[in-house]
């Protein structure tokens, strides 16, 4: 199946050269309360580059917008004159199923892309929360991942080529369309997770995988988080190769509509017989450890429905609320339980309600906290305690979501994990690629 690549690349659905300034629309595009003065909907790479060039040369500040699902992540931007939306750059440009590769425009909707691939028995192993709204470009720019990262890794393992526009309107690329390619520097890695601060992503070339032949999900209750985490690691060490291992504390489980108790969720994907073997071994191991009963979800549809809110856990729209914050931490897997314990302790001491979800196999965890009304001092203390614990164990913690007033009190939502030299290199990269600080100024680490 090949979608006439070259034709689409130059197709123009009416030239879009003037940003729109209709007010009603603009209010919806506000970021941290800042309403942009205009919005542009380029239909080609060249138009996107032209909007950027014009803004850059007249000192305007620009934010690139995909599905708008991760706008709350980052420090407050220093200014917002123009939003450039990727809404009209949303096509699959090339899909060669036999090559297991895809070339897609940044604004393509992630869920729609997945459903197209599914028809050919394939999928893109990159997960994003709120995938019904999220775009492929946004998932790459924010380095999104979810529970299945344990097996599939993150965006850096699937992006093989990228086309982008620099702030000055230069159109450039890195990588290519083939799955193995070491020509030139790896610009893909630089763009992944750069939060729209280096360039506007336009086209992404990605590797794909065939859909698994069979999958199964199990829920296992535990008495304590550290037991659940330990079980998760024992299973990996046994050579069982789970696809996802997620630990929920009892509040976390409850918020997902499960029974309020510590729960380990495991997904395995494999051939049918191998899945059965994996489940048997998981059951055996759990039996030895705690004697708990393993609950199994079998059919495809219920499994997808089950995991989707798990992926969205820390990004549910209801968390965009007063007195609510979300910490995302990355630690080595053996430290996950310790960080959950710290979160529970700090919560208790500070009269804060927390829900924890931890991808115990790969070390990413989320702490959702509701703090006493208007008591930002307590919230800051709580953040400091957890961040310190994570960072003193060679991990990193960022405050992914927080009310604006709290955010402005935090010096840097991205934490303090980076060294001076790392920051110097990052600042210099930003300076080279976006010297006028046109793109999302201030949003990223150390307010780059």
């Amino acid at each position: 199946m090949k979608a006439t690549g070259n034709k689409k690349r130059t197709r123009r659905t009416g030239k879009e050269t003037t940003p729109k300034t209709d007010n009603e629309n603009l209010g919806k595009l506000a970021i941290d309360g800042q309403i942009p003065k205009a919005v542009a909907y380029p239909t080609t790479n060249e138009e996107a580059a032209e909007f950027l060039r014009e803004a850059d040369s007249t000192g305007k500040k620009v934010s690139v917008r995909g599905g708008g699902t991760k706008l709350r992540i980052g420090n407050s931007i220093e200014g917002l004159d123009l939003v450039i939306s990727t809404r009209k750059l949303n096509q699959i440009l090339e899909y060669e199923a036999a090559d297991l590769t895809l070339c897609v425009q940044a604004g393509a909707n992630l869920a729609q892309v997945q459903s197209k691939l599914e028809k050919q028995g394939q999928f893109l192993p990159i997960t994003s929360p709120l995938s019904a709204t999220a775009t492929v470009g946004g998932a790459i720019a924010s380095n999104s991942s979810g529970p299945t990262r344990l097996q599939y890794g993150a965006a850096r393992d699937w992006l093989i080529g990228v086309r982008f526009a620099l702030a000055d309107g230069t159109l450039a690329k890195g990588g290519g369309r083939v799955v193995k390619n070491v020509a030139g520097f790896d610009m893909m890695k630089l763009m992944i997770g750069s939060m729209g601060t280096l360039a506007m992503l336009l086209e992404l070339n990605l590797k794909l995988l065939p859909l698994p032949k069979a999958r199964a999900t199990v829920l296992i209750p535990f008495n304590a988080e550290h037991e659940a985490c330990e079980a998760a690691l024992r299973i990996i060490d046994k050579g069982i190769f789970p696809t996802a291992e997620t630990v929920l504390d009892s509040n976390g489980a409850e918020s997902l509509g499960l029974e309020a108790r510590t729960t380990l969720l495991i997904e395995v994907r494999n051939t049918a017989q191998a899945v059965e073997r994996q489940l048997r071994e998981i059951q055996q191991l759990v039996w030895q450890l705690s004697g708990a009963k393993v609950e199994r979800i079998n059919d495809e549809d219920s499994q997808s429905k089950f995991w989707s809110p798990v992926t969205d856990f820390a990004y549910r729209p209801s968390l965009n609320a007063p007195n609510t914050l979300v910490i995302k931490a990355g630690v080595v897997p053996t430290q996950v339980a310790m960080i959950i314990r710290q979160a529970h302790q700090s919560a208790k001491m500070n009269n804060i309600q927390v829900e924890c979800m931890a991808h115990a196999g790969h070390g990413i965890l989320y702490v959702v906290a509701k703090y006493p009304e208007n008591d930002e001092e307590t919230a800051l203390k709580f953040i400091k305690e957890i961040t310190a614990k994570v960072e003193s164990n060679s991990g990193s913690a960022i405050i992914e979501q927080a009310p604006l007033t709290l955010k402005t009190q935090l010096k840097d939502i991205w934490g303090n994990a980076l060294s001076r030299t790392e920051l110097r290199l990052m600042r210099d990269i930003k300076k080279k690629l976006d010297p006028n600080r046109t793109l999302n100024p201030g949003r990223f680490v150390n307010s780059i």
């Binding site: 090559d99 020509a183 990996i236 990355g330």
Partner: protein
Amino acid sequence: MNKAQLVKELIKIFGEDSVLHHVEDIMVYEYDFSIDSNRPEAVVLPRNTEQISQLMDLCEKNKIPVVPRGAGTGLNGGSIPVRGGIVVSLARMKKLVKHEPKNRYAVVEPGMVNIDLSNEIASTGYFFAPDPASQRASTIGGNIALNSGGPHCLALGSTTNHILGLELVLPGGEVVKTGGAAPDRPGYDLTGFIVGSEGTLGIITEATVKTMKIPEAVQTFLALFHTIDEACEAVAQVIGAGIVPAALEMLDQVMIELIERAMHAGYPPDAGAVLLIEIDGLREELGDLQDTIIDICRRTGAFDVKYATSEEERQKLWKGRKSAAGALGQVAPNFYLHDGVVPRTKLPEVMHKVMEIGREYNLVVANIFHAGDGNLHPSLLFDAREPGILERVIEAGEKILKLCVDVGGTITGEHGIGTEKQEYMTWIFSEADLETMRKVKDVFNPNDTANPWKVFPTRQSCGEISLKMRLLKSKPGMEEAWI
């Protein structure tokens, strides 16, 4: 600073026993497994990061080029000091610093030989996945610099997918640690950008790498076909059946004949293509996939399908593939090996054209390739003593790479650009693409002291640059080159 002064300074940093500067001592550092060569002023053998930091400071202040070197098994000229200067051999920094099996990572020094890591940690049940064919000699630092591949990167990815963090000494001597064992360090992915940068950003002095659980079962299939087209069809159908094997390797008829002549791997003379398929994972998984794979091979025209489950049988099936480089050496004094990549679906078409190019230039071309990911390794066989042949070899090689690019592929899948392919970079990258890369390079290495004149085009016309000269200086021992 003259050479005597330089040597004195180097001895201050490294000690007498770690500085080589007499011609007879440094000669072996003047080339790698490519066809280029040039002699450095001196070679140093550091034992720690601090020494490298002092060296980078000294060299930056005096604008002396510094070229890092692992085992020298690179095929692209990347470790050759084309502007002279100091070669930094990482051979003595080869310790396993730590391995945490539960957290699935290890910390190693860059001079550690690839296979040594997997061997050292084997008792824990874990291994390091990247397996370039040079893995018995090449170092992990070198693998990182070139983002090396290998037969098994089809399922597990290239080196970059296995590198979590680095320690890098920048020109000027500043030491930076990037990434780490914990996931999602905030900020730009410096680690990912440094991997594959061919030593042009600084010197890697430590790496945090992923380790993976050794799969409990491996199954290897060897299918014999009459034609490459049939074998390619089998590859397409295996992938189409939703199977991503651990490895999918192919040999063409010329290669089969050469291997047979050199070491009798047991390939029948009428075989037009050998396809090696390897799957690994749980026993049940292999059981489920085995029949499908055999069935596909038969249906697409295989006249014989062998398979192995024991390690001994497996090694037997791999023997022919792994002896390819040696076999080439036995039939021709020289060979020139390329590393183009094409979309998997273009393989049959490209293979026919590669053979046409061979005929057009009257050259024997033997092919071995990573069929699963479309990575070709055509070897042009020749005798460098034959007048006029070098020009033909280079032109034919260029044509093959151009062909790869024309069908949507690239000029290198795992060997890197180095000096060998820098002029071809403009075939795939625009001036804007290259300029953007250069801007980021300048952040790390603004004065081009770290591995200068590599990767980027020299902007001289192809006819004038040393490429052809390099072939003329073709070195003995090339038959041991790694594929």
